[in-house]
């Protein structure tokens, strides 16, 4: 039996190759790209279990087991960057996740097509501005002589360079992120609202439901699956606060509230050349992220059949 199965499998592969080899040649460059720039680094992550020496290469460097992981878990920085990562991503989840949904609901209530287009065009804009410019503006606006201080100055309070105060970092980070992405984030919800069957609204109107009731019982359920999918992705990324924006914004005076796992990996690995140690930290982060994503997806499948795969 198994011999037979193997035979048919082999002939299936052969037939597929004869029929589709030109298609496989087409996908070859793409496949090579993924192998070289995504899977080679995954293989390279084994230096987390070694003492990587550049001259000996990845394979030639000596194995050291879990030494680097041990060192990381025992270090003072472990708790600090874990706490900061969680604080930043939970704050941006709580405030940043609902914001585009609310915006989409408000835009959906606008009758004038011109005004709705106008609001959308304006709110999409910051998404297209580079992070370097956005962070440059944040730094400039929150300086002691900056525009934010000159506005709140008359209402009391000292003029301070806000980014030198650890307490201000998270609010600045999260609010600027909402500023930049609220419009862009609302596109997908508006699209989901657009695909709700208009007859549902008609039926609701006949039943005597006002606009508010319709929002509650037609619009929100209509976009629920979109909300859940995006929430799963967000939860999967809860320990992956990106480094780009923080590297542009932070300075040693506020590391205590702004240093996260990814920025720590960047500093330890690429500025202090602790290749293996920072690879261990990065790998720890990747594995946790992946586990969280799979977990959130599993949970959502259990609860209401919405899932990524």
């Amino acid at each position: 039996m198994s011999v037979h199965v193997r035979e048919t499998m082999r002939s299936k592969v052969r037939k597929d190759w004869l029929k589709n080899y030109s298609l496989y040649l087409i996908v070859l460059p793409v496949l090579l790209y993924y192998i070289i720039f995504h899977y080679l680094p995954i293989y390279g992550a084994i230096i987390a279990f070694k003492d990587y020496v550049p001259t000996k290469g990845i394979w030639g460097s000596p194995w050291v087991g879990l030494k680097h992981f041990q060192e990381f878990f025992d270090s003072y920085y472990f708790w600090r960057i874990l706490k900061n990562t969680l604080v930043i991503s939970l704050t941006s989840l709580v405030f940043g996740f609902p914001a585009p949904i609310i915006l989409a609901l408000l835009i959906n209530e606008v009758k004038s097509r011109f005004f709705s287009r106008f609001v959308q065009t304006v709110t999409y804009m910051p998404h297209f501005i580079s992070l370097v410019v956005v962070c440059g503006l944040i730094i400039d606006f929150t300086r002691d002589t900056g525009i934010v201080n000159s506005i709140i100055g008359p209402f009391g309070g000292d003029k301070v360079t806000m980014l030198n105060n650890p307490d201000y970092f998270v609010p600045i980070y999260v609010s600027s992120e909402i500023w930049q992405e609220i419009g862009w984030g609302s596109i997908i919800y508006l699209a989901a609202m657009g695909s709700i069957d208009p007859r549902q609204y008609e039926a609701a109107t006949i039943d005597g439901a006002g606009r508010w009731k319709q929002t509650l019982h037609v619009t929100l359920p209509g976009i629920a699956s979109t909300i859940i999918i995006l929430l799963i992705l967000k939860i999967g990324g809860i320990l992956s606060v990106g480094y780009e924006k923080i590297i542009l914004l932070y300075n040693p005076a506020i590391y205590e509230s702004s240093d996260v796992i990814s920025t720590y990996v960047f500093r330890k690995g690429l500025q202090e050349f602790g290749w293996s140690f920072s690879s261990a930290v990065g790998l720890f982060n990747s594995v946790i992220n992946f586990t969280l994503l799979v977990g959130a997806n599993w949970l959502s499948k259990k609860i209401n059949q919405s899932s990524l795969w």
Binding site: V27, V30, Y34, V119, F128, G183, I187, S286
Partner: protein, 291 residues
């Protein structure tokens, strides 16, 4: 049916909220525009919000356009965007075409191999070592090849290809057209909206990218625009900017020059995206809702 009073109240409040939000969104950029056009001395003396330029001067723009670091960065960025987007489009269409074909044995396996990389990565350091071991560092290729395909964009394009009528492929195959001919002569011309979205997404990505350049580029002549901007805006290094300025007090021009740089670096994209808006909204829809 007449709208109730509370309904009217809501409509008014809604318009007010959305107008205020638009204002908050747009004002920082307007402020930068006004500041860049201001007379440096008047600008320094001014406190608080600007509702129009304080005084008027084009000196900052003159200095920006004469500055070799800025113009060099601009040129590098244009080279990166043009060649990068070309490679992006080529590679993404190849992948999307394959993944949209039916009756291919290994298609789903390859799809899984690709999608997996969205959720798991080897981390920053192994990525850095990989690019370095290929000797791409300190060349513009390091900013083009490692970002040749974006998985999200690939899936978006694949979804669009999957909606192509099957008869097109069948009849073209009967006419003896090869897959490459079908892809480049039939599929791409028929999916111009998606191609426009790809050009926008990839183009903006390259235009705004700075991190890979910081990692891999050491030679200042190869700096893309965003890395030059970072020196000026984030590390506050305006001295390099002021070479050749005699007509104004140097410290003063430094204040408005920052804003002129931002405008010069951001204008191309801000004038482009509104025209492509209807395409990318559509693109986000097919990509996100079905992907």
């Amino acid at each position: 049916m007449k709208p109730s009073i509370s309904r009217k109240g809501f409509i008014v409040a809604n318009v007010l909220i959305l107008s205020l939000l638009s204002l908050i969104t747009a004002y920082p950029i307007l402020y930068v525009l006004f500041a860049s056009l201001s007379n440096p001395a008047d600008f320094m003396a001014h406190q608080g919000l600007l509702l129009k330029p304080a005084g008027f001067s084009l000196e900052a723009y003159k200095l920006v356009l004469e500055n070799r670091m800025i113009t060099g960065g601009y040129l590098n960025t244009i080279i990166i965007v043009v060649s990068g987007v070309t490679i992006n489009l080529f590679m993404t269409s190849l992948g999307a075409y394959f993944l949209s074909c039916k009756d291919v044995l290994w298609r789903n396996t390859i799809m899984m191999i690709i999608v997996f990389t969205m959720f798991f990565s080897g981390g920053l350091v192994p990525y850095y070592l990989t690019v370095k071991s290929l000797h791409l560092d300190n060349t513009l290729l390091a900013l083009i090849i490692p970002t040749a395909v974006n998985t999200f964009n690939l899936i978006l394009m694949r979804t669009s290809f999957m909606n192509m009528p099957e008869e097109i492929v069948e009849s073209s195959t009967l006419d003896g057209a090869s897959h490459l001919t079908i892809l480049f002569k039939i599929f791409l011309p028929l999916s111009l909206p998606v191609v426009a979205v790809m050009v926008l997404f990839y183009g903006v990505g390259h235009w705004n990218a700075w991190f890979n350049a910081m990692l891999f580029i050491r030679d200042r002549d190869l700096y893309p625009l965003q890395l030059v901007l970072r020196d000026i805006l984030v590390q506050n290094n305006t001295e390099a900017m002021l070479v050749g300025s005699d007509s104004f007090d140097k410290g003063l021009v430094a204040e408005t020059i920052k804003y002129a740089v931002i405008i010069v670096a951001t204008i191309p994209i801000l004038t482009l995206y509104p025209f492509l808006q209807k395409y990318f909204v559509k693109g986000m829809m097919i990509g996100a809702l079905k992907g």
